[in-house]
Symmetry: C2
Amino acid sequence: MAHPTPDAILQLGTGFWASKTLLSAVELGLFTELAAAGPLDAEELREKLGLHERSARDFFDALVALQMLEREDGRYRNTPETDLFLDRNKPSYQGGLLEMLNARLFGFWNNLTEGLRTGDPQNEAKAGGNLFEAVYSDPGLLRGFARAMTASSMGPAMVMAQAFPWDRYKTVIDVGCAEGCLPVQVAQAHAHMGGGGFDLEPIRPLFDDYVAAAGLQDRLTFHAGDFFADDLPHADVLVMGRILHDWDLDEKRQLLEKAYTALPDGGALIVYEAIIDDDRRENVFGLLMSLNMLIETPGGFDYTGADCQGWMRDAGFGETYVQHLLGPTSMVVGIK
Amino acid sequence: MAHPTPDAILQLGTGFWASKTLLSAVELGLFTELAAAGPLDAEELREKLGLHERSARDFFDALVALQMLEREDGRYRNTPETDLFLDRNKPSYQGGLLEMLNARLFGFWNNLTEGLRTGDPQNEAKAGGNLFEAVYSDPGLLRGFARAMTASSMGPAMVMAQAFPWDRYKTVIDVGCAEGCLPVQVAQAHAHMGGGGFDLEPIRPLFDDYVAAAGLQDRLTFHAGDFFADDLPHADVLVMGRILHDWDLDEKRQLLEKAYTALPDGGALIVYEAIIDDDRRENVFGLLMSLNMLIETPGGFDYTGADCQGWMRDAGFGETYVQHLLGPTSMVVGIK
């Protein structure tokens, strides 16, 4: 064994510096400015962003060293990735998620230790609030949340549109659909598919706008409801993306049973999120997302593919399988 | 070019989750418990740490996935690195720095954007305090700070004890010495070397204890003083480790001029810290440390080897050179 060094420990312990530097850049609209105004030198970029002279150049060069910016002859420009995903004016913008991480979660995570000791959430709920009630009752917050969900669903949804045997089915309903990222991807890739999304009523205008922008309003319909209070709509395929991890085990089982009830024989339920590897030692993001559910929810947690397949079988599903989609995200499929 | 994906962006943006997970583990004394009590299963470890059942296993398994713990047959134990560097009962403990990152800096960094906009520090100074006054007037805080400095100096000090031509000199004084990590390493490696450390008076008992524990009290002496108000003590070699970056450019130049004055002809000044590469695009840690100086100080910033050599030559030094020590740390040497 090589001589032990503390490098990895110190790099991880100071890792929040790099993370917050990117989040502040998104907050300041740095990548949007560079996308609009082309390569800028440090002084031009500093003025556009309204930054003090003291640390602007260190901030920009740290982003270069973190490979979030390029610098040539003293002029800064986006990388291909930050140009595509962090320019607010592009439909591929994924910054909504980073804006939420910056505005809410960075501060809430400062109380992780208290969360671990008490088991209680460390977000708005500490002041008597409820995340979902707060988000769904404020149109501005809701739009940001829905966009963040679209951003983080886009990659897996694109892969899922190819990786699932859609030719065997005709309709798909995304349960907890937000803007409808997943059904839009499926409908765009498969002309025979129809269906839509199911979510709370305040989501309706966001879904309708997003689906209309894709020209799919004739094939995809919004269904309003509460997935605990109401029955789920019928479809050949039901999808739950980043839904189950918000809830405790009893609630997870209720949702799986409701899906089973709503599906026809031979119908499929697709659950997708950062499914933890069965040995719980590889999927760092999935395990940390589960701690994020501690911060954000009263009882939510992430889980392994084996966990989810077991719950599906308990709910009545026959065939079940796990398939990797993209990065930390996999889908667990159950066939009725 | 490969198809752009948002993976690196999302990994960096959520990077504070992993970082805070390690910091909470240090805060909870997890590595110290495991070092003392041997491998423990999840329930035993949870009870030792006083954690709620809800997320304890996710927390432990996230640390496994982050390679900060090992797990075999359901029992957790430290890695060689976390055992050596994060067990409070070992002299090699480096957790003091992580404790400070956890207790102070994670929260302060939440205000990075405000710091970038205003150029003002975002630590205790916002409430009218002063970091150094606060630390030096509280014996408990001061001991923690001094230990954190020893922890982060140990690696570079061990390399410097070998990499510098100490055979040409007889005495070394570390300016801003804290516990005296550097002079102890040099004296242990070179029996002909004497000298000591220079710092504010409250550091004296910490230095004396640390040096006595190494059995070097006959060769290393503490000199009390304020490096702005007082002259520096004379020695063949003066060292400033993680000192210059705390101060603005005028103050940096004052300190370099004082060192030049205090040295004999042929004497050497060694400046060491996370020296930024001259092209300002490689040393991520050095660039982020400079943003940490924004958070922590009124005018401090990190700098390149070329910057420092220029200031040294302006102060009168003849020969200057930069030599890499370890990880992000290099030394800049000036010969009078």
